[in-house]
């Protein structure tokens, strides 16, 4: 008997032939909790996955204007940042309930295969690292937990210097902040950077700039939530 990772209610199945004949993955969230999460659907910005009426949203126009060539080819996000997601992220990331990563696993992997595995031939999946101090505080890196679910996962070749939490800065401060990353090794195949939330896109672009400068052909972002 499995239990919902969020509300701990027992999940019951209608047993069908499919359960017997195929290796169907077991649900990790119960029906009511699953429906509280909303997938990003409909018209989206082609660059950052934000729900938008235009092909490229205002934010991305700004990025294109600001940086002559945007180092980030595109970002794909899976869920929208609603109340339920906010609570789940808070418990998972800040309280440290690691197991909750499996609540997203099924959809996160499925969407990855749809967008990347079938499109790209060779690539590496790299999580955005935490600074040593933050890692010590939390005990684990949430982006790493997500990246481990995906194929061609590589432990991060990036390093992060300690800075204040992104979530505590204003939008302007975030965009203007210094690049906190260091590159340890170079890489010459397309890279998919994995992170939990895409808010302004600054973090991903900082990492992407470094990678591109060292000869990486293309950098994509794959994030759980579009904030």
């Amino acid at each position: 008997m499995s239990h919902c990772l969020w509300c701990d209610q027992a999940i019951t199945y209608q047993a069908t032939w499919r359960h017997l004949l195929t290796l169907m993955e077991r649900a990790t969230l119960c029906e009511p909790c699953q429906t509280k999460l909303t997938l990003l659907t409909g018209k989206q910005c082609q660059k950052c996955s934000r729900e938008s009426e235009t092909d490229i949203c205002l934010d991305c126009h700004y990025w294109i204007k600001e940086l002559d060539t945007d180092p980030l080819t595109a970002n794909i996000s899976v869920f929208s940042y609603n109340e339920q997601m906010r609570e789940m992220i808070a418990k998972w990331k800040y309280r440290g309930d690691y197991e909750l990563v499996h609540a997203f696993r099924h959809v996160f992997v499925k969407m990855f295969n749809k967008h990347f595995s079938t499109q790209l031939k060779d690539f590496a999946v790299i999580p955005i690292p935490l600074s040593e101090m933050r890692l010590y505080e939390r005990g684990f890196n949430q982006a790493d937990a997500l990246a481990r679910l995906l194929p061609r996962y590589q432990p991060s070749i990036l390093q992060r210097l300690h800075s204040e939490k992104q979530a505590k800065k204003s939008r302007y401060e975030r965009i203007q902040s210094k690049n906190p990353f260091n590159l340890v090794e170079t890489i010459n195949k397309p890279v998919i950077l994995v992170d939990d939330i895409y808010t302004t896109g600054t973090t991903l672009r900082h990492a992407a700039t470094l990678l591109r400068r060292q000869g990486c052909p293309k950098v994509y972002g794959y994030t759980l939530v579009r904030g």
């Binding site: 309280r95 440290g96 309930d97 197991e99």
Partner: protein
Amino acid sequence: MNEKLSLNPKVIKQIAGKRLLRKELPLDEQTYRSLIQMNILQPIQSIVKKAFHYECQRCHNTKRSLFGMYPCALCNRMHRYCRKCIAMGRVSDCERLYEWHGPEPIWSIHEQPCTWDGELTLEQKKAAERIVTAIQFKEKEILSYAVCGSGKTEMLFPGMSYALQQGMRLCIATPRTDVVRELTPRLRQAFQSVSIQALYGGSQDKSGTAQLIISTTHQLFRYSDAFDVVMVDEVDAFPYHKDMSLPIATKRALKPSGTMVYLTATPRDEQKKKIERQQLPHIFVARRYHNHPLPVPKLKFAFSLQKNLVNNQFPKSFLRWYSTRKHDTRQVLVFVPTIQLAKSLEQTFNTIYPEIKSSAVHSEDSNREEKVYLYRQKKIDILFTTTILERGVTFPAIDVAILHAGHHVFDEAALVQIAGRAGRSPDDPDGEVVFFHDGKTEAMVQAIYAIEAMNKRGGFT
């Protein structure tokens, strides 16, 4: 020994009587090390392996689905952690919990702690004196079985005063957050010279250094051997009787020599059996403090109840009752079984009677404190609620209705408690209580029987 003396007494109060994680200890690395060396701070294993399960030593969770594993970036190993009490900071294999075994903090002795100037009725006085005796002779436990609206809180005052006069440390615990919020201002008023802190999920100050702590039973997970007297209000309330870890934690918070006082208007079967077998000393208070009988619920059959509720409509009998009440100036409190219904029925009501101020509260409502406050101020005429307001709250003059009283959330205890919300004020002692149902359930029959029996014991016929 020098460090021990240099420790601020306030810091000792923050640590003593608790079970804390390293990051909850207000100590720098050096003091921490020397306290460990002196055995004043003793580490205990945080998750213990038992024969067939694990047990979290903070919240006593043993459920397999509420343990998880995480890869620790510090020691490159998988650690088991408790998912149940994670909101209080993660307890994992990687860390220890710490208990204080140094000198006990000294609590002040109050000569005249009680500043309440009301008077107890004869019945209340009898019960209050019994509680004082129990504390005086360090009896293990006592149950105060007092009907809804008999003034349970006031009955505690003499016992609390006695304990504070002896320099004891006290805790008033309850499973319900709303009850903590309701009790805190009343006790602050009644014990003005005593340091009081309220602990609940969203409370600001969690240091827990006061002599008198008012806490939800969940917050007691951090405590161990802390109090001389623990008074558990509404012991039969959800989730205390369902979640085995709460009684364990509450007992752990009490010192071995301490006294546990249970308060309830609706004891569970288990407690009733113990009373019958004389294993649990108890006192019974059958009269309300204003000497009027408990209102006996009326049953009203509503033929198309289920169908109406599915369509978010009111049954006709409810609307008829609502518009022809004897005292139509009274506010109305309507209990419904689900959050969804509370919200949607409130909207329907608003379209039928746009001139009447209505509102809905439920456990997921972030404005619930404010709405209850407005209702108490008579700024809202009719309030739709789930069972969160079934107990521990007092509104002076209201009529009470339950829509779909046959739903399984309304068990006997809940029905008795809900009926007990009416007629609580001496100025208006006979509020109406109506159960709308589409078929009598055992719970309804038993609840009415229990209320009548209590009235009989109270001398009303």
